[in-house]
């Protein structure tokens, strides 16, 4: 018995020491509260697998009131939201490739005749790369539609014909693999840089470096450059193996892809640098990285369609480099888009990098006070 109570006393000593240290490590203590809180809010509010208000376009070649009724009926389902009108199906396909809309409804000239003939009355051109999006649109295929002028009750099997672009077999790997580049790069790039600089500070290397002629921006750039290559290697592994094992097509140009990845890597590394100017220990740097990684996975459109999220979640998502990059990498890899089509996202990443480096260099002074 005596042995047991002594053992309990020793365990108690360690338990209380641990708790005491935990309460003194403010960031870690904060994580204990913040992680469940944020996760709960993200999963509860932001994540919505029921896709609503997907941005779509229309090509109306029939110019009839009935066609406008059809559009109004579709809009009323709240699955889609008609935002663009195109003159020709070719222009519409181009808009899908650029990622402006997820799908386009093409209403043919013989729309009225088709209504009478019980044939499918119109065609959906759908970006099939995101299976959750395409599934939502496919559910509209059999939506009943009556013009009010029919002589007999409609008995057509499908209201719409469907053309699935980019991923006709609707395999989720096609969408996941390019997105995974964004997630893996966010995880490694941010963690590597933030930990790399914090490690130098922890080990005392930094105290020596700041007494040498090296400039703080030189330290920053020198810390970033090696990881750009690490990031490019990681991208090559993911997309290469994705192509070989999961048959993910690479439709875009390689130079566009590398440039896009380069912009994203720079933005992620900058984020890592910013974290390193805040975190005091490697553990804290790691925690801040995880803190950033959660919304990058959940809100960026990697797992759940961006359109399904409430406005507030979309604003947060817009602030994350991963959101912009996932848009870019899917457009380039799956839809063969070029950076000209994607300039707003590219510009955002470049702007983020520049501002981030400036902020990090300002925060990281070559002074100890």
């Amino acid at each position: 018995m005596k042995g047991l109570s002594r053992s309990l006393q020793r365990i108690g000593a360690i338990v209380f020491k641990e708790l005491r240290q935990l309460t003194r490590d403010r960031p870690t203590f904060g994580m204990i509260v913040m992680v469940p809180l944020i996760q709960l809010l993200l999963f509860g509010f932001a994540i919505n697998t029921n896709v609503r208000d997907l941005p779509v376009g229309v090509v109306d070649l029939s110019h009839t009131q009935v066609a406008r009724n059809l559009i109004a009926d579709l809009q009323a389902t709240q699955v889609v939201s008609f935002e663009e009108t195109y003159q020709t199906p070719t222009l519409a396909e181009d808009a899908i490739r650029r990622g402006h809309v997820h799908a386009v409804l093409v209403i043919p000239e013989d729309f009225g005749q088709r209504l009478q003939d019980n044939r499918p009355i119109a065609q959906w051109l759908i970006d099939g790369s995101d299976t959750m999006v395409s599934n939502a649109l496919l559910a509209l295929q059999q939506m009943p539609f009556a013009s009010g002028f029919e002589t007999q009750t409609a008995a057509r099997k499908n209201t719409f014909e469907i053309a699935l672009f980019f991923n006709p077999e609707r395999r989720s790997a096609v969408n996941i693999v390019p997105g995974l580049v964004a997630i893996v790069l966010t995880m490694t790039m941010v963690m590597f840089t933030s930990a790399a600089l914090v490690r130098e500070r922890e080990r005392g290397n930094l105290e020596l470096l700041i007494t040498t002629p090296v400039h703080s921006s030189e330290i920053m750039i020198g810390k970033i450059v090696p990881y750009i290559f690490v990031g490019l290697i990681q991208m090559a592994i993911i997309l290469g193996l994705g192509h070989l094992i999961f048959d993910v097509p690479i439709n875009g140009r390689l130079d566009q892809l590398v440039l896009g990845v380069f912009a994203f890597i720079s933005a992620s590394l900058t984020l890592g640098l910013l974290i390193s100017t805040i975190a005091k220990t490697q553990l804290q740097a790691m925690q801040l990285t995880v803190f950033l990684l959660i919304p990058s996975i959940l809100l960026s459109g990697f797992m759940f369609p961006y359109e399904g999220m409430p406005d507030a979640a979309q604003w947060i998502a817009e602030a994350l480099p991963a959101t912009h990059f996932i848009r870019m990498v899917r457009a380039i890899v799956l839809r063969g888009a070029t950076l000209d089509d994607l300039w707003p996202d590219l510009l955002w990443l470049i702007g983020f990098t520049i501002l981030g480096v400036l902020a990090a260099a300002t925060r990281f002074k070559k002074r100890l006070d």
């Binding site: 005392g204 020596l208 100890l368």
Partner: protein, 321 residues
Amino acid sequence: MTDISPNTDSEWAIETDGLTRRFSDFVAVDKLDLRIPPKTIYGFLGPNGCGKSTSMRLITGLLTPSEGSVKVLGMNIPDQAEQLRRRLGYMTQKFSLYEDLTVQENLRFMAQIYNLDKHQSKHLIEQQLSRYQLNERKQRLAGALSGGQRQRLALAAATLHQPELLILDEPTSAVDPENRRDFWEKLFDLCDAGTSILVSTHYMDEAERCHGIAIMEAGVKRADGPPAQLMRDLGASVVEVDGENLRLLKQQLSELPEIVSTAQQGTHLRVLIKEEIADPETWLRTAHPELVAQRQIHKVRPSLEDVFVHCTGGENGGARQ
């Protein structure tokens, strides 16, 4: 001892006036005035937390003074801190080279950081490796070196670019006595070659080796000058008393107002007695015969520790590390 006054052709290596640094309401360095001549070894002596490191960081421009001015090698610090960096070698208290790089890689890295040209740096690295007996270990990771070897590597790295001023923050705190002796020999070699050296220490024997020292306590400079002069001008006399029951004697003597401090050293008690007492032995024998009956009393030469204890007002040599 070398004359501590500056050479006619050069100004002070380090000059501070009223240098003060506060961290919120804690005063780490308080109105520090220093005049450190070039080409000498100058020591900061004081216990941990006395402001040695803060003073050094103020001098190198790593910290901004709250008040007062700093001039190093004729440059105003911190305004011209960037220019100072090329002419300054700095060795931190903690080993701050890369433990996962080899000895040679560390030195190459520092050579590149200081923009030494390729040919010159190859030669300089060779020279440092042999000067600091690191030749056989040049392929070894710095993390795998012993304390003494690390210290030599740190000094080799800090002096690779041949700085005019070398600042060493407690360089020998993790080094055994033999390596410390060795290390100081190297410092004198550097000094001989024209380098000005500022070193902080809490070892009396190291302070005694310096050309000049400043004794610091709680951010204030208590005394400065060449160690020999400080010992000579000590405002107290020192006697050693031996015999039995030294613990009790120490306690009794400490209560006398004329006694500055007492410290036991093995079988005798070292007693600092105020200057006003002209002949301490006679005074002890006549004023307090009951305490010193049947005990031997010797007057001895003051040590630097006595100086330290006297000017920090420390009780019983408590500041000794």
